[in-house]
């Protein structure tokens, strides 16, 4: 059974809970942004919503593949469900795991990339034609990286960390421009997510880094949730 990296036995399952909390927060933000898009017709809200939807998809697929890796019960259930559909093709289950890893990585990197583009102020952007060609190039790179990272997971987290670093810079500029608590909280959330990715890169040193990474990931999404609640109940 393929696995990207080794995790500590006692932490298997706890990380799934963390990911479901993060998934819930990402869906909340995507939902509110979609509502803002319906109200204003401004495309930036649509892209922002789509970015968080991609992150949600990634977290969901990761939770699915991880539960299949961790728990035999999930594997048996999946086998029973897929038997009538796939038949003999189930022998290639390794491919399904790799598809799962690929979707997880491509969706997460795509989400961070879109967030980076949306968090850039319009005046800093290039003209539309260049922007589309730039996006096309980045989408190709995201897909390529997601495929390569199936064999070397560090590449995925390193790319994620680079994108998050750029997002943090954008939010730092936003904080300097607006200078209020909400902008500071958003910047802090993305710093926590960046730290989580830095821990994930160095998981080969010790599996405890996966635990630390997951804790920082959860904290980052809790900060995002807190900011969302502050905005909603103003």
């Amino acid at each position: 059974m393929p696995n990207l990296f080794l995790t500590l036995d006692w932490f298997q399952g706890i990380d799934l809970i963390f990911e479901f909390v993060a998934l819930f927060v990402a869906l909340l933000i995507a939902g509110y942004s979609w509502k803002a898009y319906r109200m204003s017709d401004e495309h930036k809200f649509k892209y922002f919503s789509f970015a968080f939807l991609l992150i949600s998809l990634s977290l969901f697929v990761k939770a699915l593949t991880s539960s299949a890796v961790y728990f035999q019960g999930t594997r048996i259930a999946a086998d029973v469900i897929l038997r009538p559909v796939l038949g003999a093709a189930r022998e290639y289950s390794v491919l399904f795991y790799h598809t799962g890893f690929f979707v997880e990585m491509a969706a997460m990197l795509g989400g961070w990339l879109l967030l980076f583009f949306v968090s850039q102020k319009a005046r800093d952007r290039l003209k539309k034609y260049y922007e589309v060609s730039q996006l096309g190039l980045f989408v190709y790179l995201v897909l390529l990286i997601s495929w390569v990272a199936n064999f070397k997971y560090e590449v995925f987290y390193l790319t994620g960390a680079v994108l998050l670093g750029l997002i943090v810079l954008n939010y730092y500029k936003n904080y300097l421009n607006n200078n209020n608590k909400n902008t500071l909280l958003v910047m802090d959330s993305f710093i926590l997510l960046l730290v989580a990715h830095l821990f994930f890169i160095f998981m080969f040193v010790t599996p405890f880094f996966y635990v630390f990474g997951q804790i920082f990931l959860l904290l980052g999404f809790i900060f995002l949730l807190y900011t969302y609640m502050r905005v909603k109940h103003k």
Partner: protein, 96 residues
């Protein structure tokens, strides 16, 4: 230089002007407060009436042929103002 207001910001300014005047305002005052031309204001008012965010009330005044018109903000309009403020907070917080 100030940037051009979006359609949504214009609607917000119109509704805010009505709210700041205690929920009702004369169309001429509204035109000055929201800094819009007569034609544009009428276009926006038609849209806002259609969406039930404002309503027009007419008062018959003695010695005047035409009735006095006032623009009133509705409950839905007040709800829209609150939602717009939240959306602006969201936009600022996430740098959109």
């Amino acid at each position: 230089m100030a940037t051009r207001r979006s359609r949504l910001e214009l609607i917000f300014d119109i509704l805010l002007a009505i709210q700041n005047k205690g929920g009702k305002i004369k169309p001429t005052h509204l035109m000055y407060k929201s800094n819009l031309s007569h034609k544009l204001l009428n276009n926006y008012l038609d849209e806002l009436i259609q969406k039930e965010l404002v309503m027009i009330q007419e008062e018959i005044v003695k010695k005047k042929k035409a009735p006095n018109k006032t623009v009133h903000i509705t409950e839905k309009g007040l709800g829209f103002l609150a939602e717009f403020r939240r959306m602006r907070e969201f936009t600022d917080a996430f740098g959109l």
